[in-house]
Symmetry: C2
Subunit: 359 residues, 2 copies
DNA sequence: CATCCTTCCGTGTACGCACACGGAGAACTG
DNA sequence: CAGTTCTCCGTGTGCGTACACGGAAGGATG
């Protein structure tokens, strides 16, 4: 039998063994001096020997320290329902850490407005938090934010997106290039030889284009690598999937230009819009690969119009970002700098187990 | 700004509002009577109004109650390295709940020995635990175990495998039929028309065969459904993948009988053995689909000899089983009865994000 | 030798909750 | 009306840790 139960070794026990009072042990454990070297050494020996581990429950109860974590992310209500998912994870984590004297505040901004981004940040800086989690969508302003964080010694974590060369504690998000590569593989897998693929590139008004470019890069690199044994060709179409007329016009044009397209890859989460197009135009049998389990996408996946969705566990990204910051601030626990979420391959046959994320 | 921070409403606050002492509020909250109905009503009103939620940290510190959770599962050392994974999750959960007066003890048995199964159970029943988590591998003995649990009023959770018609609190595991169905889809996807598939059926000495049968059933049901538009044929071969000579002999025989097999599906976690066979025999270009991210499988997946692995997050199954039992015993939180783990589709291109499970 | 400071350590209180104990007052008994 | 029981409620202590405070012993200083 393997027993992993509480050692039940308390500060008091160590004190008794060492013949001192609990206060002394505490001073040693917290390295706040005022203990004779000989006594310190002896106590540390007993600590190591008994394998003392502090009771985190009692610790947090006694701790006066409270910590405030701020989150700066796009508004799920205004822009893209995708952002409900990280928010869901964040709220879940917030509930878990609430009783540990930790509060979480979410500040939202509009994805189309760099100004609202900076406004939300200065709003949260009215009471500087102990740690910041944010999604650095806008390139230049993000560096302003980073600078200000570093001036105030506020540690920060990137969620969902990241910038290179920063002193962020960590990044929780996806490996966009690799996910694009995988998308390429999936289409290659399911298509006949000499097929043609259309890559739909949303002309992003904002900084989020960064991600999309990487996905595309990964996608293309699959077909440029030796893996393209089926000699599949890629074409591109730039459009605005948020505007129905524009999208339909651009897709019509693309199909006119390349009539025998049999696979489509779209680099953002608007695959449902393409699916709607295919449905209305009566084009069947095409493979369609996109990103993210937003409701509309899930619908079309279940109806068989979207073939694959690539998931990235956005709920988990939010959840883990909060917990990592919490552990860093309250327990001095450090983390890996890069934390890629899994690249989930989701089809009609396994969507059921992904669509409602359970913690 | 959305703020999800601690309400900071304590029993003391409620007492002050109601003009009574904290002890009275406590009696009301714990429904242990000795409070005048009028007072009770008034206090409950304030509780609802202020939205009081107990501080779980302080609660568990003050709680005298301790709880012991026992786990009964196959020995990872003796049998199948697969079982290291649920154990990993269990140990992780054990660490998290340790400071909440909860201990976790793991009892192992050999998958080939129904006797060791019952032995381990009676061993753990020497001190009956407050809750039991187990993998009901052996059909009949499992019902003995269940009966004894119910006599002692010990709640139990099925992990990884389950029996129908029981009063288990919950099941954490996979949907074996659906995962087989998905495997069928994957092979169908990646094969040409009129291909032939070989299903390798391990002749399981033990009760674990249950799972394997369901996977096979799901697999076949895909090809029997209208989905088999490519007219792919399935053949079967029973063998013992644990014994190299037997396996090689049986596979040689199968390839002789059906020379143009281009896809193989194996229903348990020994895909690596088939891969080894294909490698040694120089058979390339076959699609091979199997289960579980045990090291050998991961190796062959990375080398491109295994095409797909189906994962089921065994670490999470272990972790969630413990946490669910903990929440049930210590916080009266109830759970869903059926908790399927996701059916992860894993290829060479996304294995990196699955092989080392991170909590 | 009195005074003061330094070094080292013990004691006490608080964190929010659970629960045991006991006490005040009403109600009931003989 | 003294004595007993019962109802309802306040107080106190402990869970394991953090930290403030203060105290004893010893040395330094005048």
């Amino acid at each position: 039998m393997k027993n992993k139960q509480g050692n039940k070794i308390r500060i008091k026990d160590i004190a008794a063994r060492a013949g001192v009072s609990p206060g002394t042990v505490d001073r040693v454990l917290h390295k706040r001096g005022e203990v004779a070297e000989e006594t310190r050494r002896q106590i540390m020996e007993i600590v190591d020997q008994l394998g003392y581990e502090p009771n985190l429950v009692a610790k947090s109860l006694a701790m006066k320290k409270t910590c405030r974590i701020a989150v700066l992310m796009p508004d799920p209500a205004n822009d893209n329902p995708y952002w409900e998912k990280p928010e869901f994870g964040i709220l879940h984590a917030a509930r878990e850490v609430k009783d540990f004297n930790t509060s979480v505040s979410i500040y939202n901004f509009g994805m189309n407005s760099e100004k609202s981004y900076l406004n939300a940040f200065s709003e949260l800086m009215k009471e500087p938090p102990d740690g910041l989690i944010f999604t650095p969508i806008f390139y230049h302003s993000s560096f302003d934010i980073i600078r200000e964080c570093e001036e105030h010694s506020i540690p920060y974590i990137f969620m969902n997106m990241r910038l290179d060369g920063c002193n962020n504690l960590a990044y929780f998000g996806q490996n966009a290039i690799q996910s694009g590569f995988l998308a390429g593989k999936l289409l290659h897998f399911s298509l006949q030889e000499h097929s043609k693929i259309l890559i739909v590139k949303p002309n992003s008004h904002q900084g989020t284009g960064f991600h999309l470019q990487r996905r595309e890069k990964g996608f293309l690199s699959f077909f440029l690598s030796g893996s393209n044994v089926k000699d599949i060709q890629c074409h591109e179409a730039e459009t605005d999937p948020y505007k129905r007329e524009v999208l339909f016009r651009d897709l019509d044009k693309a199909f006119e230009q390349y009539p025998n397209i049999s696979g489509i890859f779209i680099t953002n989460s608007r695959a449902s819009k393409i699916a709607q197009y295919l449905y209305e135009r009566g084009r069947k049998g095409l493979m369609l690969v996109g990103y993210d389990l937003v409701n509309e996408n899930v619908d079309f996946l279940e109806r068989g119009i979207i073939t694959f969705l690539i998931g990235q566990k956005p709920e988990e990204q939010g959840y883990k970002s909060i917990l990592a910051m919490f552990n860093y601030l309250m327990a001095d626990k450090h983390m890996e700098k890069t934390n890629y979420s899994p690249i989930d391959i989701i089809m009609k046959e396994n969507i059921d187990y992904y669509k409602n994320y359970k913690f």
